[in-house]
Symmetry: D2
Subunit: 173 residues, 4 copies
């Protein structure tokens, strides 16, 4: 996404997403601050929690109050997973900001079979929502197939989520 | 702990713990492999999951089958928390090894108010147990006070845990 | 810098700089690929060397052959310095690409008194140039004062550089 | 190395080395503090500079004043090199401590062809010595072959070093 595309996109889209690599593209953030559509702001690969919250301020300061944060993993030395999903950042931010916080366990792990357990963990520590990749046949996906759930896995996730949410005093919207 | 202390400790202790900074102290691991007491092996601050599993092999190869792994956070650029608790490593290891896996959210976050949510998240993604610091009056603790739960917080954790565990098909021992 | 500014800037500027936080702003890179002015591409805080080289391909593929790379430190757990200056990346890239490579020891360390030794080290391992911040009175600098050289330090650097360069078979332009 | 071996080793060896994985093996450090032989203390993979200096204090406090520090790379997300050689740490420590500091560009990069440029860079930024692996036929080395110099490369390094050292006002011992 580029600042030049913001107006056209905002007319059509229900929500605009700022990818991790654009989290500190301040021109883009300022342009999105002028929009009256929700903006999903993903944490950068090297962003501290404080950096993410400060990036959100660019949107809020420009008048867009519909900001949603997203934890999607940071870059560390660990190679078993594509990124290191920092769920403590979710719990931390829940105590520091009123903004809703999503978790993306697909990018956060890069490994299909870790998406369900990490989705449940995200729910247990306070996440307000999930961003999960599903594909009818992940093996043939054009991108991110290795981290995409099969439809039956997505169903399994959706049947497990309510009881985890209930256990922490929340429920599915 | 030092190799010279292993025998004396093994006679008295119910379990022997290898701290994160000793995870690749191979002399110590070999000595503990000879013992017939459970060994809790904590992940090093810069250890990949693979390194932890290979360190466990030193114990197993020497004949000690009572090995328990522990995720306690890795060192990253994030400073909001003392370490970065890598819960995806727990879910990953549950699929790679039969060894039980504990999570230490006290060292893993270093922040008292994050211990409960991260404990519940650990339970939700498959951890077999928790290592949680509690102190009657954390402000006066000789060490690690900032990450120690007050007794009433520990009670709150223990009352929330069973329903999260039930939600993922498990129960408190 | 934003794509909308590229044309106006390219008319006036001798060189266009892509900051570390924009290294993977692909819309911007494509726009700069159309320009016929040199582009200085700074390494992102979480960018692997491979990511930097691939980002440069966006500029090259769009027809701009005047690309200069810049190592300016990556984000790690070390806090003694603002970033971790990765000089091995410079030596590595010198063997992989024909593009010139600068080093920014000011951002790379964030510490004034480290700028001279790291500048000399950069010269010794093959850097083609330096990006060094100097200020008449760093204490009063509006930004980055802590990493800005005093004028007399800059003079000292410039008097030491030629002999280090000569020692590795190069000379000041 | 283990505490049990310290006395026997100290009788025979000219210098005792604490490997990176033992940098915070405090039992070992205390035992080595009692010895009257030089100790080479290598930086741990996740050790901040401050941690290394504090580990050295265990040796100094126990009475061993012959402590030599060694930068050998830290563990980061970069995969082009085996570790990330932190030469700024060398320049930083030269300003904070009187202890001599070596650099190990072999472990620090893991790449043979980076050893010479990083050795020269180390010399340029103040290192007091180098730890370089050389092998008559690195392809057949039992370990660390990929980072070992061929003899002719070592000769080339030794012929380049004096002029770099001279350029920064030092000379080969």
């Amino acid at each position: 996404m580029d600042t030049a595309d913001v107006d056209a996109l905002a007319e059509q889209a229900d929500m605009l997403q700022v990818g991790a690599r654009n989290m500190q593209n301040f021109s883009l953030l300022k342009a999105l601050g002028e929009v009256r559509k929700p903006v999903l702001l993903k944490r950068g690969l090297a962003a501290r929690v404080e950096d993410l919250l400060l990036a959100a301020e660019y949107l809020l300061a420009a008048g867009n109050e519909q900001v949603i944060l997203c934890e999607r993993g940071i870059r560390t030395f660990e190679t078993a997973t594509r990124n290191t999903l920092d769920l403590a950042a979710v719990a931390y931010m829940k105590q520091k900001t009123h903004l809703p916080i999503l978790v993306d366990p697909s990018h956060g792990t890069g490994v299909r079979d870790l998406v369900i357990p990490m989705s449940l963990a995200a729910a247990a520590c306070g996440a307000d929502g999930l961003l999960v990749e599903v594909h009818e046949n992940p093996v043939e996906a054009w991108s991110d197939g290795a981290q995409s759930l099969y439809p039956h896995q997505f169903e399994a996730l959706m049947s497990s989520l309510p009881s985890v949410l209930a256990a922490v005093g929340r429920e599915l919207a």
